[in-house]
């Protein structure tokens, strides 16, 4: 398609049609003089392309990519292996530029990838139906909470102490304008305290559970689900997808709505995004699930095809009464996750999870042998845990970075009661030498 802008001849023709001599004359007739800006805009002059490139490179060089240090960053975003084929596949122009596949007859390829993504999300989470994805794990969780509010008509949700604090902020942003009360469990030793939950669950639309939680700990999810269900509340879970290769999936321990941050599935950490939110539900909740859904269907010749389905729930048909008007899917990043899962397969995912688990447990064992260092919480964890140091977490982090080590986020900024704590995550990419380097580094820093 030719996309040439207006020519002088086009402009003259339009001006003649309305009877004005020039564009300036037109503007002076319709915008009162006192509102018109005089002189030029106060912006710098344009740069030559190679000067601009140099400028951007200098700015980019101020960043310190995780790949250039030994990274133990986690807290919701993880440095897992990303097969090189992913960027090639998602970079194909058919995928890279495609938008919402409303017109099924010209979007079969895009629709098929979304359908396969949904299938993998269901298999990972053990749920019945998935949507085409959300912006990220935080918004998926918040949509889950709003969905439970819609379902029950109740105006409160219960959240655990171990919910990612950034997720909590997003959840509060979604809940505050709609007058949904967010009740926070204090918990015990970083986990949900079942007795406290029993007291706060009354009248709640949902109990939210993150498993493993923000501190890396495994929650008593089946017990939590039972308490929630006995009180008529839905269970909305947020999980770490890689962990599902080892842990019981949410669909099997009683989650009604399962969400996850899809970043660990082949998506670069990239300074916070773009990521992809996974969202899946039990069958009886499908019609109130937000977002778009792709289904497999038969055409009139009995051939398989893919279509958007249940569209009457959605924004382009139900308008202000849609299940959600603040969501869309993340097709390209969902394709990234789909490609990752297709390439590594169930065995690869299990190896990644197992090696992450083993590395983290080796590291925890070594670190707790260092004088003055202990785990902040007891109990089981997956690939992430918090340690308490005899010095400030921020100070330790700074000094370890001088040794080329990113020693996790500090907990103090979110949890002021733990100023000396670091949250450490281990993935399959960390070798034994990396883990030993952190142990030696911490020995020196606290010694």
């Amino acid at each position: 398609m030719n996309f040439t802008s207006h020519s002088d001849a086009d402009r003259k023709q339009m001006l003649d049609a309305i009877g004005v001599g020039s564009l300036d004359e037109l503007i002076s007739k319709v915008i009162p003089d006192k509102f018109r800006m005089k002189g030029a805009l106060d912006v710098p002059l344009g740069l030559r392309e190679f000067d601009l490139t140099k400028d951007f490179k200098a700015t980019a060089a101020m960043n310190l990519p995780a790949a250039e240090v030994i990274s133990f960053l986690g807290g919701g975003v993880y440095d897992h292996y990303i097969p090189a084929a992913i960027s090639h596949i998602i970079g194909r122009s058919e995928f890279y530029t495609a938008y919402t596949p409303y017109q099924a007859e010209v979007a079969q390829g895009t629709l098929q990838t979304i359908y396969e993504f949904q299938t993998m999300v269901c298999r990972l989470t053990g749920m019945d139906a998935s949507n085409a994805s959300h912006y990220d794990g935080a918004t998926a969780l918040a949509e889950g909470a709003l969905m439970a509010v819609r379902k029950s008509g109740r105006k409160a949700v219960v959240i655990p102490v171990g919910l990612n604090p950034a997720y909590r902020q997003v959840l509060e942003t979604y809940c505050t304008p709609t007058n949904v009360e967010v009740r926070v469990l204090k918990g015990k030793d970083g986990r949900i305290d079942l007795e406290e939950l029993k007291k706060l669950v009354d009248g709640a639309a949902a109990v939210i559970i993150q498993h493993p939680n923000f501190f890396g700990l495994l929650e008593p999810m089946a017990e939590v689900a039972k308490i929630a269900h006995d009180a008529g509340a839905l269970v909305v879970s947020s999980t770490y997808p890689t962990s599902l290769a080892l842990l019981t999936p949410p669909g099997e321990w009683g989650a009604d709505i399962a969400t996850a941050e899809g970043q660990p599935l082949g998506v670069p950490m990239s300074f916070g995004g773009p990521y992809v939110g996974l969202f899946a539900v039990k069958k009886d909740l499908v019609r109130i699930m937000p977002g778009r859904v792709v289904a497999r269907a038969k055409d009139k010749n009995d051939k398989d095809g893919f279509v958007l389905t249940l569209q009457t729930r959605e924004q382009h048909i139900r308008r202000e009464k849609a299940t959600s008007n603040i969501c869309t899917n993340q097709a390209l990043i969902a394709l990234c996750a789909l490609t990752y899962l297709s390439l590594v397969g169930p065995d690869g995912l299990k190896r990644a999870a197992t090696n992450s688990y083993r590395g983290a447990h080796y590291l925890a064992g070594k670190l707790t042998g260092v004088k003055g260092v202990k785990r902040l919480h007891g109990g089981e964890f997956f690939n992430e845990f918090a340690v308490e140091l005899p010095i400030s977490g921020l100070e330790a982090q700074k000094r370890l970075l001088e040794k080329g080590i990113f020693a996790g986020p500090t907990l103090g900024s979110w949890f002021p009661e733990h100023p000396n704590a670091l949250l450490l995550a281990v993935t399959e990419k960390r070798q034994k030498a990396d883990l030993d380097a952190l142990v030696e580094g911490i020995k020196k820093v606290v010694g």
Partner: protein, 132 residues
């Protein structure tokens, strides 16, 4: 267009058949024709309180969805069980087997706000003209 003489109507194209303090309701022949193939209904539980003119559920066709509004205030006495597996019954028999819920009227005077068949026919004529 079929507008039975023995029913009362709303401007939202619901009908009501009142008998001894109870009313059964559905959507009109005109409404089912405008919606097209009906595929799903979201209906309240028995015992739910409804208010005249307020939405108590929704009805979905293949390419449109609409609210179901209560023609009168009261309490849901029954929900048509056939619709869960055969929502198309509404297309086939909007005034018969395609009834949607039964309501126990809390305020019988509510019916004074409804349209008689002649007024409803005029209303349809008018809204039909506007939308075409």
């Amino acid at each position: 267009m079929n507008i039975p003489n023995d029913l009362l109507y709303t401007r939202d194209h619901e009908w009501l058949r009142v008998s001894g303090g109870e009313g059964s309701m559905g959507i009109t022949d005109y409404a089912q024709g405008e919606l097209g193939d009906i595929v799903f209904l979201d209906l309240p539980d028995v015992g739910t309180k409804v208010s005249q003119g307020k939405s108590f559920g929704s009805i979905e066709a293949v390419k449109a969805a609409a609210d179901l509004n209560a023609p009168v205030s009261g309490e849901i006495l029954a929900v048509n069980p056939a619709l869960e597996h055969a929502p198309e019954t509404i297309n086939q028999s909007p005034y018969g087997d395609g009834w949607i819920v039964k309501i126990k009227l809390s305020t019988p005077a509510d019916t004074a706000n409804l349209l008689d068949p002649r007024s409803y026919a005029a209303w349809v004529e008018q809204s039909h003209g506007e939308s075409h």
